[in-house]
Amino acid sequence: MTAAQEARPTGRPAKPPRSLALPIGVVAFLVITWLSLSEEIGIGLNVGDLIEDAGRGLDIWAEFLEPNWAFLPDTLGPMLETFQMAVISAFIGCAVALPVSFLASRITAPNVAAYIADRSLLSIVRAIPDILYALIFVAAVGIGPLAGMLALLFFNIGVVAKLLSETVDGVDPGPIEATHAAGGNRLQTTRWAVLPQVLPNYVAYSLYTFELNIRASTVIGIVGAGGMGQLLNAQRAFFRYDNMVVIIIELFVIVFVIEFFSIRLRRRLV
């Protein structure tokens, strides 16, 4: 190896030393994982207990294997409610997120103050998880789909504004320069040089949030925010696992179908 180094023809650079960042990172990750598993300071995972307890849930599993299909008609109302919550909050959320994300990109924000204010507000909106929004709105407007819709709305604004403002940051600056050179103002530049470039992504993100909403509605329903989640939680409280599994299968089918169509639609857009 030293011979090869000595034989290096003049003008060719020496091989730069390997960066240790990756191996150090991997080792650190392994150590933290191991500590988190330990009995003393971690969650105390014991494989023996795991095997010993494995049979305990068998009777629940048995009930899961016998869906009570007679329960299906009772789920249709809540399912429609979930769907309506998802559509309304995706529509309003994405409409609000459009101007919000233009303010959150340095390329389209009118000034630094608006940019910083908008970004800070967005960080707060995104720092609150969807279930917390649900708790807040259930407290504010009471149990039911209105609270769920409001929770999903804030969740959607956070998601779309984040993704879209990053897309705006990455647009081709050429058309923007051309619009400025033609005497266009900021709003005109945003409309004609930026929006056409991010439009396919915007539509894709909107579809994606609709998908997320169907999923999220099951979780926020647990705290009383309407739809399928609320029904699921009620059945769980009565230990009606045979009814729960009907809801789970139904959700699975719906999410699968929505995802199938939204992937195809997104592919045609971009």
């Binding site: 050429g174 320069e177 050179a181 033609a182 005497g183 103002n185 470039q197």
Partner: protein
């Protein structure tokens, strides 16, 4: 009349891109600026419409200072200056007509233009601009579906739709093949002659500069090193501007075909 008075530009990195340039360009002239890359050609063009701010000196257009213009005044100045780019800078995902209508933004009113409700007279001006560069049949085609030469003509139509007094062209043919280059240069020349629009073009091919430049300005390291007619600019002059002997790379190498 465009007047440079000791115009200087220092970029944030400390690069002195333009050094004390004093220059006058009378109305209706076709000027070609030549020089190596990095000589300050693009900067010279961009200080005229304020896309690059001056560090010192001034540029005035018909007596109005570009350097001291406020935002609204600067848009007003820019509205009368069309610009053509090396990479065309079209909005590729929208129609040719929408691209040309960008040239009408300054006049269309913010609300109208943002909603896309352009006045019929603005659409008429855009259509006429497309007719002038011979691609009006592509008006409703997506810009991304056009060839490079066609895209550059859309770029020219966009500039024309401004009804400009001045057209700036920054390396307009550098991304095109030689025959298309001549087509685009002839379009610019025709527009300059027929409409009397002052036209300032950056080029790096010497033979193109000599054919189309009524006047040639040479730049080297941010300084103006030559100013004369195309006819006077022989090989020695270019050698001076470039600071080195000429090579085949400095020529486009394809003679202009007889104008159609």
């Amino acid at each position: 009349m465009i007047r440079f008075e000791n115009a200087s530009v220092v970029y944030p990195g400390g690069v002195h891109a333009l050094k004390n340039v004093t220059l006058e360009i009378p109305d209706g002239q076709m000027v070609v600026i030549v020089g190596l890359s990095g000589a300050g050609k693009s900067t010279l063009i961009r200080v005229i419409n304020g896309l690059v701010p001056l560090s010192d000196g001034d540029v005035t257009i018909d007596g109005v200072s570009v350097r001291h213009a406020r935002a609204g005044e600067l848009r007003e100045i820019r509205s009368r200056i069309g610009m053509i780019f090396q990479t065309f800078n079209l909005v590729k995902r929208t129609s040719v007509l929408n691209n040309v209508l960008l040239g009408r933004l300054h006049d269309a009113g913010t609300l109208r233009s943002v909603l896309g409700w352009y006045r019929p007279e603005d659409i008429e001006i855009a259509m006429q601009a497309l007719e002038r560069v011979g691609i009006v049949e592509k008006a409703y085609v997506r810009a991304s579906n056009l060839s490079g030469g066609q895209q550059q003509r859309v770029g020219i139509a966009r500039a024309l739709a401004q009804n400009p007094k001045i057209i700036l062209a920054d390396e307009p043919v550098a991304s095109l093949d030689p025959p298309t280059s001549h087509v685009v240069m002839r379009d610019l020349q025709r527009i300059n002659r027929e409409l009397g629009i002052s036209t300032i073009v950056n080029l790096h091919f010497l033979d193109l500069a000599r054919v189309y430049g009524e006047r040639i300005i040479g730049m080297r390291q941010g300084e103006l090193v030559y100013d004369g007619t195309g006819a006077e600019a022989d090989e020695n002059v270019f050698r001076d501007i470039y600071g080195r002997s000429l090579t085949a790379d400095d020529l486009l190498g394809e003679p202009a075909a007889a104008p159609a």
